[in-house]
Amino acid sequence: MRPLNGGKHSPPLARSHLTRQNKGMNYPFTLAAQSLTALPSGAIHWPAQNLLCVSDLHLGKSLRMARRGGSLLPPYEVTATLTKLDADITATGAKHILCLGDSFDDAQAETDLTPDHRIWLTRLMAGRAWTWIAGNHDPAPLTLGGTNKNEATIGPLTFRHIADPAQIHDISGHYHPKARLKTQSRPCFLLDKSRLIMPAYGTYTGGLWADDAAFKTLITPPAIAILTGSQCLALPLTSGSQTRRLR
């Protein structure tokens, strides 16, 4: 991670901003004048809507790899991911859950859910609005209930799986951004004035470095990366002209 060059285009530092960061594990921010909170787990909470948004759960990844004759990975990632989601739902008390696409690693992953996992998901969905946004890995699930959508607009914000460079005020996933700070690599949110790209929430997910060319047309300085992990940490993102890789 590198600071921006000189900060020429940046507004002066707001002191309240830093005190806010140091106060808790979460990272509150605004997008399209809406107050949102990034959680260390990689979810966001939108208190005004009591909405919890998670992206790229990739449930069923290990089974998909096994089907294709690849490695037999520890088959526990669904349990691990649902445990995390369950905890976030309990902690925020969210009444609307929005899964931002690639919730399942492929279409068969939904049908291959074990009965236990299916019951668990059903229990989480009970009494809550639940929106499945379609991803590139999965068309929206068919048998689990909830609402299936290509994208969802709520107030000034649009939720879609892949960010659309022509649009603003959107929240998306797909790229699994990650960044490094003090040798530690962490999944991260990328946030600029008009857009939020979410980290992958699923347990078995890798990522694209925050300086990847894929983000150049999407994220415009001044922008920050919000690292997940034991705490949310905001970092300035390098400008597009920086060629150094953020690792």
Binding site: P3, G7, Q21, F29, L72, P75, S194, G207, P236
Partner: protein
């Protein structure tokens, strides 16, 4: 060829070896082919006694030959093959030769061709390594040569093909060269499993191991053939001429470049025919070579050779050496093994030798004549290394060798072998178990462990039986078979037990694609910005960018380069050397050390203490804004590393915010945000043992151990270039798998493998306990205002391990805040004033 066969003129000087020598070449029924006998006679050459002895032992099922470097042991291994094949051999693979280095395979081919062509024998010799072309490999499988020279990895690949039984059906002999080196790693364990396989395919197969001088020949013989193995000892030759290199300047207080010695080294090069200048790491070799070249006013032809250089580069150096065009080669372990690369008459070891056995073997490089003493000079890079060099010299003179016995064959290697066996065809578990028990490292393998490995390769071996429909291996008609035949290709891609760090190729940038120079670690490449310069292959190059996973560079003469960080092997100093160093510390004065080093030790004695046997010295001091704690345990690098992990964990518990530590063979240095006022409380063995299991869970060494085991056992695939290109979103860190397994399946086989490996090798907890128990009531704690003279070199050690606790959380938060402040960035979308971008 004087390198392999002794000239009879020198015979008189040689002591009689332990092996029978006969004046004639009639060898108990084992005749050399007459043309070869004639050819030897015309050249005026005769065989060494051990070469003759090998002919006598030709029919033994297993023979281990122990001979010093340069003793013609490779030819000794081949003698019976040449004798059996004769002038007009029948077609088919007769002898398989295995070496740890692919360069060695190619070199042996050149050297064998001299007697074979000289005597006009119709014997076909070919090599097969990672560098062999696809066409050539296919042809070799269809029509194998009489003698095939290869590496364990290439053999693993050959054996994984369904046609392996046909290729090896008539194999008579297998020769394992440098078996002492292979036996030190998982490569050797894997190779012994492959030999067991070969023995099944070719029941009459005879095994030959060729070894340099080792401390425990019977153990090595067991490794080669657990049932019975004959041992032949060659004449060890005259004692070497070995000393410290005298230099005008004293070695520096710290550092590892040894640049101060360059004028003296150049003078030595000028006075000898060919000098090998050994370094312990590739980066050191590069830096030294660069510095040497700047002072090489006599324009002596000197080259550089190490494992990160492009194959073309290395080949050019090797042939120039063979042709006698070079006066010196700056090199690393890449020239440790194998037969001579020319008339080497001097070996210079730069940096502490770390291991007496390896030093003796390196010294042997300067031995183009078997019965002439090898000449070697040691160049310590700093004052601590002076002591280690003196300790090593004394050990060489006493003819004591070091070596720690290795435990039984690891199960991750066994898992890979089972998968490779399945790739070749269906197997019966009982038969395979019986076969594996004939491999030395697995002679005592228990059936439940074997079954667990089969289970792992078939189903993943998880408590949650999630993959019953998608097993990798299925039991069909009583035999384990790949469910999906395409899996065989994945298994083959992942064969081998060498785990590389990810590297990127380096090329000169030009329109035609550019000349390959070598490779650098990806982590190093990622720190480069265009315009940065670094050293590779002795040239300074400028980093232009990364394109298609290749680092593009241009030559830039005469600027100060950054250093390329290579992933060269880092040797651990042996216990024997560590003990000798400790004893030198206890001398009342140090007349056997150079004055500068004696002064330094005296200074340490004055400012603090010198570590003593049976006592533990601890120093604390502030430095550079961090609080430091150094423990001089002299327990070896692995144990010192474990101690670092355990102590930082205890510090974390006590809220002392440790940030990281570094371990050497002698000491562990921890740094953190808060001072440690009472270090002894951290060292209670009871507390440490209690914390051990918990600690095993989350530390970086365990994660690295797990990753290596997971790659070898086939749980995760190697990151080859193609896959890496196809997108990083799909690949994720093995740490995630480690954490997931620990959380949901703590008894899983791979966690057991990781723990076992950690206990003995990487972690060596037994030695930590031993050291702490021995020194429990004999701990000296010195709280110092500054770095002590002895602790100083610790700051230059690589391999610092971060502690991922509250300390790093604190630092990360501080750093994030600092970066935000420096950038002047506040929330990028403040409420209400968001300027909308053009849609």
């Amino acid at each position: 060829m004087g390198i392999c066969i002794g000239r009879s003129g020198h015979k008189g000087k040689r002591k009689q070896g332990l092996c029978p020598a006969r004046p004639t070449l009639y060898l108990g029924g084992m005749n050399l082919p007459p043309p070869l006998t004639q050819w030897l006679a015309t050249r005026g050459w005769s065989l060494h006694p051990h070469q003759v002895a090998m002919l006598y032992a030709a029919q033994n099922p297993a023979t281990l030959l122990i001979a010093p470097t340069g003793g013609g042991k490779t030819l000794a291994g081949f003698m019976p093959t040449l004798a059996e094949l004769g002038a007009t051999p029948p077609p088919g693979l007769h002898t398989l030769y295995l070496s740890p280095l692919k360069a060695l395979a190619a070199d042996i081919r050149r050297n064998l061709s001299t007697p074979i062509e000289g005597a006009e024998l119709a014997i076909r010799v070919e090599d097969r390594t990672g560098d062999t072309t696809q066409t050539q490999r296919r042809r070799q499988r269809a029509d194998p040569p009489h003698i095939l020279l290869t590496t364990p990895e290439s053999l693993a690949l050959l054996l994984s093909y369904p046609d392996a039984p046909r290729i090896f059906a008539n194999l008579k002999r297998v020769i394992i060269d440098e078996i002492h080196a292979l036996a030190e790693s998982k490569r050797g364990d894997q190779l012994m499993l492959q030999i067991a396989r070969l023995q099944t395919l070719a029941p009459g197969l005879r095994r030959v191991g060729l070894s340099a001088t080792v401390e425990n020949p019977p153990a090595l013989a067991q490794f080669l053939a657990p049932e019975h193995c004959d041992i032949l000892n060659a004449d060890p030759g005259p004692a070497p001429d070995i000393a410290m290199l005298h230099t005008d300047d004293a070695p520096p207080w710290a550092g590892n470049g040894a640049h101060y010695a360059i004028p003296a080294i150049l003078a030595q090069v000028a006075n000898h025919k060919t000098t090998l200048i050994f370094h312990n790491t590739r980066a050191q070799a590069e830096l030294f070579f660069h510095a040497l070249w700047l002072q090489n006013e006599g324009n002596l032809p000197i080259a550089i050779h190490h494992g990160s250089l492009a194959r073309e580069q290395r080949a050019r150096v090797e042939s120039a050496m063979v042709a006698g065009q070079l006066r010196a080669v700056v090199c690393t372990g890449s020239l440790d093994l194998g037969i001579d690369w020319g008339d080497v008459d001097l070996v210079i070891q730069v940096g502490a030798p770390k291991n007496v056995k390896r030093l003796v073997q390196r010294i042997g490089r300067a031995n183009h004549r078997y019965n002439a003493p090898s000449k070697a000079r040691l160049v310590p890079a700093n004052r601590f290394e002076v002591i280690e060099c003196v300790a090593a010299l004394e050990a060489v003179q006493d003819r004591t060798l070091d070596g720690d016995p290795r435990g039984p064959g690891p199960l991750d290697v066994l898992c890979q072998h089972i998968l490779a066996t399945a790739a070749a065809g269906p197997f019966d578990a009982d038969h395979l178990y019986a076969e594996i028990k004939t491999a030395g490292p697995y002679a005592h393998l228990q059936r439940p462990d074997f079954d667990a490995c089969v289970e792992f390769t078939a189903t993943g071996g998880y408590a949650l039986r999630a993959y019953d429909k998608w097993q990798r291996l299925m039991l069909r008609d009583g035999k384990w078979t790949l469910r999906d035949p395409r899996t065989a290709a994945i298994i083959r891609q992942n064969l081998g037990t060498i785990i590389d760090t990810e590297t990127l190729k380096v090329r000169l940038k030009n329109r035609l694609g550019g000349m390959p120079l070598g490779e650098v670690e990806e982590a190093f490449a990622s720190t480069l910005t265009p315009g940065d310069t670094f050293l590779i292959g002795g040239q300074i190059v400028r980093f232009d960018g990364i394109k298609d996973l290749t680092v593009e560079v241009t030559r830039t003469p005469g600027r100060d380069p950054k250093v390329a960080v290579f992933n060269g092997t880092k040797f651990a100093t042996s216990t024997l050397l560590a003990d000798r160093v400790l004893r030198i510390f206890q001398q009342p004065n140090w007349s056997n050390l150079p004055t500068h080093t004696a002064h330094w030790l005296a200074l340490q004695r004055e400012k603090s203490n010198l570590p003593a046997p049976g006592r533990l010295l601890i120093e604390t001091f502030p430095h550079d804004g961090r609080e430091h704690l150094t423990l001089y345990g002299f327990a070896g690098r692995n144990a010192q590393q474990t101690l670092g992990l355990l102590i930082t964990k205890r510090m974390e518990e006590e809220g002392l915010a440790p940030l990281g530590f570094v371990a050497t063979d002698y000491a562990t240095m921890v740094w953190g945000l808060d001072p440690v006022l009472n270090p002894i409380t951290l060292l209670n063995p009871e507390n440490l043992r209690d914390g051990f299991e918990v600690w095993l869970a989350g530390n970086a060494v365990m994660k690295r151990t797990f990753r290596n085991a997971a790659v070898i056992a086939g749980l995760i695939e190697r990151q080859n270039q193609g896959r890496r290109k196809s997108g990083r979103q799909a690949t994720f860190s093995s740490d995630i798998l480690y954490d997931t397994l620990r959380r949901f399946d703590p008894d899983h086989l791979l966690l057991k493998i990781t723990r076992t490996e950690a206990l003995s090798g990487m972690v060596d907890f037994a030695r930590v306990e031993d050291m702490l128990t021995r020194t429990q009531n004999n701990i000296d704690v010195n709280h110092l205002p500054h770095v002590s003279p002895l602790a100083f070199p610790m700051f230059l050690e690589r391999g610092r391990i971060p502690v991922l606790g509250k300390g790093i959380d604190r630092l990360m938060a501080d750093e994030a805040a600092r970066l935000m402040a420096a950038a002047g960035v506040t929330d990028p979308s403040p409420p209400a004033t968001t300027p909308a971008r053009n849609p």
